[in-house]
Point group: C2
Chain length 146, copies 2
């Protein structure tokens, strides 16, 4: 409730500015954070610096390709730094930058919200799906009768 009005005003401002997506932080920044894997990777890195394969083991169902891509994007955005050590075979360590660390606090609040409302959301989904299959069934009958 407190945030809504501030956001609404801000939105009007963006909209007034011709609505250039590049000037809208929501779209330019949060699109990445909303990526399928980015939040998870940030959480994993928040615990401690990690190596590539270590992260792959921590999040088993990400493909290497997606892991690479997610890390590259985070690196490009300055949220993560990449350090190569000349061991044999070479090892690569990723860690959160100060910028990356700074997103964890707002992100943590959102995650806590998600966790506390998870059951409620799942119930809403079940209700919606039940109502849908109801009306679907009605449509079926109507089609048959027709």
């Amino acid at each position: 409730m407190s945030g809504s009005d501030v956001l609404a005003a801000r939105f009007d401002h963006w909209q007034g500015a011709g609505f250039d997506p590049a000037r809208c932080p929501v779209r330019d920044v949060l699109d990445h954070i909303g990526d399928k894997w980015t939040t998870l990777i940030l959480i994993v890195l928040a615990e401690k610096a990690r190596r590539f394969s270590e992260m792959h083991r921590a999040v088993p169902d990400i493909s290497k390709r997606m892991l690479t891509q997610t890390l590259r994007n985070l690196e490009r955005d300055g949220m993560v730094t990449r350090h190569v050590f000349p061991t044999k075979p070479p090892s690569v360590e990723y860690r959160l930058s100060p910028l990356g660390l700074s997103v964890m606090s707002p992100l943590a609040e959102l995650i806590e919200w998600a966790e506390s409302r998870h059951a409620e959301i799942q119930q809403a989904r079940a209700r919606f799906d039940a109502a849908m299959s109801q009306s679907q069934a009605v449509l079926q009958i109507e089609t048959v009768v027709r």
Copy 2:
């Protein structure tokens, strides 16, 4: 920093539980919020209840299909309610539910973070891209020399 440790512990817990994606709120809930349009739609609805075409005008570069889909998902998750009025032609109004309203506060913090760090992120991107085109150029030369 404060959020990191809490999150790390929580992550360990999820991971211990066999890592079922359906039991991980981050993946089950935030994936939706991270959708390309969902956050924007939430912001638009935070200002006031709106009709379909009104939203389409507010966010001109969303397609009707995506607007429909985004709204359906939000409705399914119980974040938005849909009200049909028997005017001619019928009008449909969408509004935030209490649940939808409750996400605005953590979301607002994240958006504020995005706004305050936007410039920093854009600079990081520019640096990264410059460094990349550098090394790309080097690769080109090496290839030519070879």
